[in-house]
Symmetry: C2
Subunit: 327 residues, 2 copies
């Protein structure tokens, strides 16, 4: 019997989960929930679409619900609400609010005997896991996280809000010299500016003051002021042709020393190069949805994160096969 | 109260665990067991040394025993024997015999209510974990494992057995073109020869036939015949001066595609660059010793591998701290 998966929300992430589940032989999609008019949704696969308000009625048909909404407005309420009926999983990524979200989901899960796994993806998610394991293995050391090259949706949006801007795409780029210094085990102390640069592709209104737009971008507090930022003005056609993708990625390093004199250096580097940020996140969500189901099957309940999930639980093969083929 | 750790075997690995435990604030070393005369052992720290035969008498003083013997002759018997009295952990690395070793340890652990974690280190260990997670996240993809640049003890030993050879050191080196092709998501089919080269530094007896030694090396079945191998003859002084370290490392890749048309490529790369192969393995063992203790505290028992251990269990911080600081 396959694991019956449902999706809540049909944006980039929801579509990514739909694609990922079709590649998982042990899973099947049984429902899509939306807050829009279900009739207005055209799905890629043959999957029943229901309004979010009808979710409870399908509680016995679903093994795990993958929440694909946004961290700002959707997940803080949706994940706990749905944990009442379902094993749930989300990609909540507002780092500062994770403890609060965890507590909210945990309470509902424990009251209802469900499993919730939150903040699953690559950061938070795979990057977090590598930070944890790096620290545990090399306690005498340093952590570094670099992002990019990749599109930052938040920074792109911030540019779009400037007067005279029609559209924009912002890339976060790690500084090569900083990567090299870390990789060489030099343990550099790096400022924000020394770690990443920002590159912006901007479509301006006809006749707009480009110098003023550039100034508004590079001096923008929080978003750009602390970085070396370059701004390129291009046409809408160029933006659509050359910058339509949503690539991202990054690297987590742990560098540290061992031996009584700290005489031996070690470098652990975990790197991701992703053509599609949302589809990779969806793929991680789908793998951990399998774990949520399996943990619930063992009568576990409560809120979990990637830190609490034994890796074998995310792989479809049996424990015997994993030991034989992958250990 | 600290986790009371004991070590069995005082070679490179045992000394590495001794050093690693001194860096773990939540652990203390309480015993070292040896098959040699305990009086002959000079430890680096102030740790009581006992003969291996006395181990049972100390069962109530030890929370977890780290077995630091060899995979060929020591661990297949020692780990199950010691699992009768202790929670145990080892770095058993004969991949083909892991299922058998697992079964032997599991049986004793279950009969005695102990936890055993086997095959902990980097390969098997961290590399295995990355193979598993890569497959789970990107099921439509390819795995690649590269080793080096690093010293292969087995290959160095094989050279030393050749007539006329005084000493030798062999480095396994990944082929840069192969790494680049994998990193670019080209999914190359790679032969043994295309993945790694082998470089040998050999000290020959005076008057030895160097051409014959070279021929014996490069044509040696299993060890060298399938590789492009280079041989350098150097003096014993040069070998001791320039090749005394035991560096190693390598990379595990998972490359794969997502999307309904497989239109988006992704590359996951996990890389290790280690000055000391045994000390890094010891550091992984020490982190997972913490997990063995914690699993036993929760009344878990039986044999485990890194696949079965929730990552939070290897880090000294509390679950709350981990979520707050590392997620």
């Amino acid at each position: 019997m396959k694991i019956r998966v449902a999706i809540a929300g049909y944006g980039n992430l929801g579509r990514g989960v739909e694609a990922a589940v079709t590649k998982a032989e042990d899973m099947e999609l049984v429902a899509l929930f939306t807050r829009r008019d279900p009739k207005s949704i055209v799905t890629r696969t043959d999957i029943p679409v229901y309004h979010m308000d009808e979710a409870e009625a399908h509680k016995d048909e679903i093994d795990v619900l993958v929440l694909c909404g946004g961290s700002a407005n959707d997940l803080p309420t949706q994940t706990p609400a749905m944990a009442k009926y379902f094993n749930v999983i989300d990609s909540f990524d507002t780092h500062a609010r994770i403890p609060e979200h965890f507590a909210n989901v945990d309470k509902v899960c424990r009251e209802n005997g469900t499993v919730g796994i939150i903040s699953v993806g690559w950061d938070p998610g795979m990057f977090s896991l590598n930070r944890l394991m790096g620290q545990a293995i090399l306690p005498d050391g340093h952590d570094y996280t670099f992002w990019g090259k990749g599109v930052s949706q938040g920074h792109s949006d911030a540019i779009r809000r400037i007067d005279g801007v029609v559209d924009a795409r912002q890339y976060t780029i790690p500084v090569e010299e900083a990567l090299t210094a870390v990789r060489n085990g030099e343990n550099p102390e790096l400022t924000t500016r020394q770690k990443h640069t920002r590159e912006c592709f901007v479509v301006a209104e006809e006749g707009a003051d480009k110098a003023a737009i550039t100034e508004a971008i590079v001096t923008m507090p929080n978003y750009f002021a602390d970085y070396d930022t370059t701004v390129h003005f291009i046409s809408k056609e160029e933006l659509d042709r050359d910058h339509a993708g949503i690539p991202h990625g990054g690297r987590v390093f742990r560098t540290g020393v061992t031996g009584f004199e700290g005489e031996n250096k070690h470098v652990i580097e975990y790197s991701l190069k992703l053509d599609s940020n949302p589809e990779f996140t969806s793929s991680v969500l789908t793998a951990y949805a399998r774990a949520a189901y399996r943990m619930a099957q063992k009568n576990d309940c409560g809120c979990k994160t990637v830190f609490d999930v034994a890796p074998a639980l995310i792989h479809p093969a049996s424990a015997e096969e994993l030991r034989k083929n992958l250990l």
